[in-house]
Symmetry: C2
Subunit: 658 residues, 2 copies
């Protein structure tokens, strides 16, 4: 059941699609009703906060893309979409704002959606272990309390509220290779050639910012890609989709049509004085389209046809928190302030002040207060609706694809997001790093994303920043083989990490073949989750809510109805511990047709796993279909399916067709 309370006068986010009547708006009465449903709840209007009691047995799930474990207890999170390339345990915000929480004990569970586009602080047992305090910058929010029999029902109810999740084309379940950047046609061809030579399946190659002409959206550099549409066709004939990046900022350049049109039509975000904000990202100075306006979304969305018309059928939207290197106004202030530090003895105080002047230029909180949106006809300062920006950029694309390409699914995923955007695209989890701890973070983010409606998702396999090692890349497959988005991506200046760069390319090939063998299952389970508002990747607790040990497991997840995975995420480890809530069949895969089978009883096991081995556990009474791998998703044939079963499961499975 969903109950709807309204605090203050929240700005409409359009994240919810099902209308639920507002039950109460007066804080005192909201408290009364909430406390009846969730004893101990307080509405602290003076603190602009809500307070919930946490019992010893309570687990708090949710918040989508955040740091730390699945259970969010013991930290402070802030919904404040942030371009931050260091996903450290001490961070409070990443790229997304996904304000749905699921609190569960063995006795009762409830969901909570705090729908408000500004800053929200979730102190989940950080200040006091027994209290969850949700503080709003402005005391305005739509509050939805979701109750149900169990976690699955609560998630289903919530997902019905926010509408259906984005479903990508099936080929987007294939493997994609990316790097910042493959600079030319020939560099892209080399990637395709080398994967082909190694016999590794591949469905897409990504184009990062350098394919554009001086980082201008909806341009292609004619020096690097002289005949782009021919090249797109050439690659597609080889079974490979090219997926260009689109950035949120529009370069300020006379004669550049996107800039000229936006300027002429008044589509860019404005400062208080009514002039267009000058911010900067890759190309230097840019304007930001005001994506919160429907007519701006329509205009920007139409520009995707520049690439669609050349055969492109997939995109990733980036820098849409929005990332800001600097604003022109702030940069000028900093240059002036720097003068004060010249010729002085810079000590602990003044040196760090000076360093901070320049060090805090990018993504400076003050800059988000320097510009405005036209929001349902009202002028609203950006920080008040900050978390809607990336959402509406991607919505612009999603709405356009429905108009421009009604018969063909287009791949779309975004870096920044807010709940509601899950209807228009997926996300990748941003600029992670080549860290072992990020394999686990990747795994732990997925169920939280699913709860919030974001099903099409994945991390940069091998890590984006920092240098990848062969063993890290291979162990990462223990997760990535099962994520809907499976992409290897890395930053400029880092060690090359395409799988053919390492010594054991054939081990990688065998494991990526396993991915392709799994695609019919993964795609079907994904579709099932999307269409039934279920989870694609689940914590064990969802399936075994009364199993105390299963409730605490944070490094194993269920993928669809048949399997559990347990990646190895520690360097030099020869295996790992696994907890089985019930007996399962271990499938230790080295390749789709090369694996050990072992029936394991319920309980704890140490399971050896060599570097080229991926651990899958088949659930009792379930069936796992495996296709014969192919070089591209489109070549997978269902007549060539093998069925692995455990217990009394029949060797059959109902596939979802695209």
């Amino acid at each position: 059941m969903i109950r709807h309370f309204r605090i203050g006068s929240p700005i409409e986010t359009e994240s919810v699609v099902r209308q639920v009547a507002v039950e109460e708006t007066e804080p005192g009465r909201i408290q009364e009703k909430l406390a009846q449903a969730v004893p101990g709840t307080k509405v602290l209007a003076a603190d602009k906060a809500l307070s919930f009691a946490l019992g010893d047995g309570d687990i708090v799930y949710g918040l989508g893309e955040t740091v730390r474990g699945m259970n969010k207890r013991g930290w402070l999170y802030q919904s404040n979409c942030s371009d931050d390339p260091y996903h450290l345990e001490e961070k409070h915000s990443l790229y997304a704002a996904q304000n749905f929480l699921l609190v569960t004990s063995k006795e009762r569970s409830y969901g909570l959606y705090v729908d408000t586009p500004g800053l929200v602080t979730f102190d989940i047992g950080y200040t006091k272990q027994g209290e969850m305090r949700i503080a709003l910058e402005d005391f305005d929010a739509e509050l939805y309390l979701v109750t149900g029999e169990d976690c699955r029902e609560i998630v289903r109810e919530f997902r019905e509220l926010i509408g259906p999740s984005y479903i990508p084309p099936k080929w987007a379940f294939g493997f994609g290779q990316s790097r910042w950047s493959y600079m030319t046609e020939d560099e892209v061809r080399e990637v395709a050639d080398r994967y082909q030579e190694a016999g590794v399946p591949l469905d897409s190659i990504y184009l990062d910012i350098d394919y554009m002409e001086r980082y201008k959206d909806f341009t292609v550099d004619p020096e690097k890609f002289p005949e782009f549409s021919d090249f797109v066709r050439e690659m597609k004939e080889r079974g490979i989709h090219l997926i260009p990046i689109i950035d949120a900022g529009v370069k300020i350049e006379e004669g550049y049509p996107v800039y000229e049109e936006g300027k002429e039509k008044g589509y860019f975000c404005k400062k208080e004085d009514g002039t267009d904000l000058v911010a900067a990202v890759w190309p230097g100075r840019v304007h930001f389209p005001d994506f919160l306006r429907p007519e701006v979304r329509e205009w920007f969305g139409n520009w995707y046809s520049f690439l669609l018309d050349q055969g492109i059928d997939g995109f990733w939207n980036d820098m849409n928190e929005p990332a800001i290197f600097y604003t022109e106004d702030h940069l000028n202030e900093v240059f002036e302030q720097i003068e004060d530090y010249k010729g002085k003895n810079l000590d602990i105080q003044s040196f760090f002040e000076f360093k901070g002047l320049v060090g805090t230029l990018d993504n400076n909180p003050e800059d988000y207060r320097r510009f405005y949106h036209d929001c349902h006809g009202k002028k609203v300062r950006h920080d008040k609706v900050h978390n809607l920006f990336g959402y509406n950029m991607t919505r612009a694309a999603g709405e356009a694809f429905e108009r421009l390409s009604p018969d063909k699914k287009i791949l779309m995923f975004s870096r920044s997001s807010y709940i509601g955007m899950h209807r228009y695209g997926g996300i990748w989890t941003g600029d992670n790093r080549s860290w072992w701890s990020h394999i686990l973070l990747n795994l732990q983010q997925l169920p939280a994303l699913n709860m919030c409606g974001f099903l099409y998702s994945g991390a940069d396999t091998g890590g984006f920043s920092a240098d990848c090692t062969e063993d890290l890349a291979m162990r990462w497959l223990g997760v990535s083989l099962f994520t809907p988005l499976f992409r290897n991506h890395a930053a400029m200046g880092t060690r090359r990490q395409e799988f053919y760069q390492f010594e054991r390319t054939q081990d990688f090939r065998r494991l990526i073949e396993l991915r392709y063998a799994l695609v019919p299952y993964l795609y079907s389970e994904f579709r099932k989750a999307a269409e039934k508002n279920g989870m694609y990747i689940e914590p064990l607790l969802f399936a075994y809510p009364q199993d105390e040990r299963a409730r605490g497991i944070e490094d194993q997840v269920l993928v669809g109805e048949s399997i559990m995975i347990a990646p190895v995420y520690v360097q030099n480890a020869a295996g790992r511990y696994v907890y089985l809530p019930e007996e399962m069949k271990l499938l230790r895969f080295r390749g789709w047709d090369d694996y050990d089978e072992e029936e394991l009883g319920a309980g704890d096991h140490y399971v050896p796993a060599r570097l080229n081995e991926v651990l899958v556990f088949l659930r009792k009474g379930k069936c796992l279909p495996l296709a014969k791998p192919a070089m591209h998703v489109s070549e997978l044939r269902e007549e060539e399916i093998r069925y692995l079963t455990y217990g009394d499961a029949a060797p059959e499975y109902t596939f979802y067709e695209e």
Copy 2:
């Protein structure tokens, strides 16, 4: 057995105390001899490198204070003492340069000490999984190959080579509270009072940089500490030692006697033109004493008497990599270069260049090439002997204490270090962070430090930077109760983390009492390790070399002869897995006199551990003595020892007295 080879003409580091004749100096013949001992070894003179073959079963231990796991395979490490407050898996260097490696398989083991004061790169299976490549910036090094029956013998041989480890006063095994900074006498008193009120034992309070007058070494701010020696006495009467910090840089200030003396005597490091280098740290502009000169060490060491004479009996030496905020010359260059960026459209290229100008001011590699040492009478550029700087600062103190305080042990530990410094002081592991992953890093660094001679060591409990939570602080005790240095320390601007700041102070009290109950055992085991050149904290492999599973364990260690510890280092975890190489008795401690006992068989176990429970495993046939706790180490009484035993162990134990 130790064999000594010499490559090129290395600068003498004085890290070795036992003379071993040089067996060979010609690269070709060194290769021949090395390859006889360790098949596959190559001397690659053209690459200034040595190459060793790594077999699948090889584990590589050592390198002291570095990131990542105990087994260093799969990463690239650089010996380059660095002031870096982000101890991330991607880092190559921390504060120390400890160039000893121990390579071990079930078949054979060997140690390797690369004694050279400049940059050394250890590519340990990073580029190729089967190769360890050690590259020198200059092809000059004393190379020691250490062979023996097992890891313990190899470590013992190596430690005999480098001389006896520093032994601190026994009170330094008590608990110490620190913060950057307790600003005044009253703030220090409050810490003492509140711990006393809570009944928590405490032996020391640390004074960070603000006790000084404008960050000048060997001064005390008379506003904050008007009668310092009286205050030191007052605290000592309460059983509390005050431990001030000393920094490497000497403030440039007319009339400040340390500066004036150093200037007059020519004791500061000089630039190529012969003038004193002007660098900057906390006070702004400073000079660096040339600690490589014996007369400078004597002079600087004598200055410690300024504080010794006021009753101080412990110090920590900081910023001695040396940390450099900027050099005057470089800062001036940067101010000039900034001009070029004004009024321009700063794009991806120019913006990051501009940001980098200021962002790379501190600890800039170029600055380490701007000054010189007088090294055994030769002018040597700093970067060539960089790793000896902190070592010799602490040596200055250690040599002084032998002169100034021959009858009384003085506590001394340092941030930066090189092998050799272990004879003069301990180390703390620098500016870690309030991260769960740093509990494990802390544990994993300890055996490597022990191998290199650094026995007195510990991490900032609760984490230095970032905000600590109650559960993090409590779980950290699972390691810190057993480290010789047990200190809670935190940075300015972070959440207060003295144990009385949290809700469950009495749980902390009970666990710190356990520490005090353990002190007679821990101190005795420490002394044993120091005097017999053994390990105080050991990897399981050392004790169970033929147990394949034990060889791979990286999150359990042996502490002394009787116990194994296994900390919980995952937030919200209700327990952890433990591998027992043989049957052991679990002691699940909530306090020194409140614990569960359970005999567990060899093999794998999931062991529950509530937040206030610390897991100790008593080895078969061994005895663990527990004293009745006291508020200070000096009050512990051996007549009040209880003996926990397992198997046929007698309830007796040979204590080392101070």
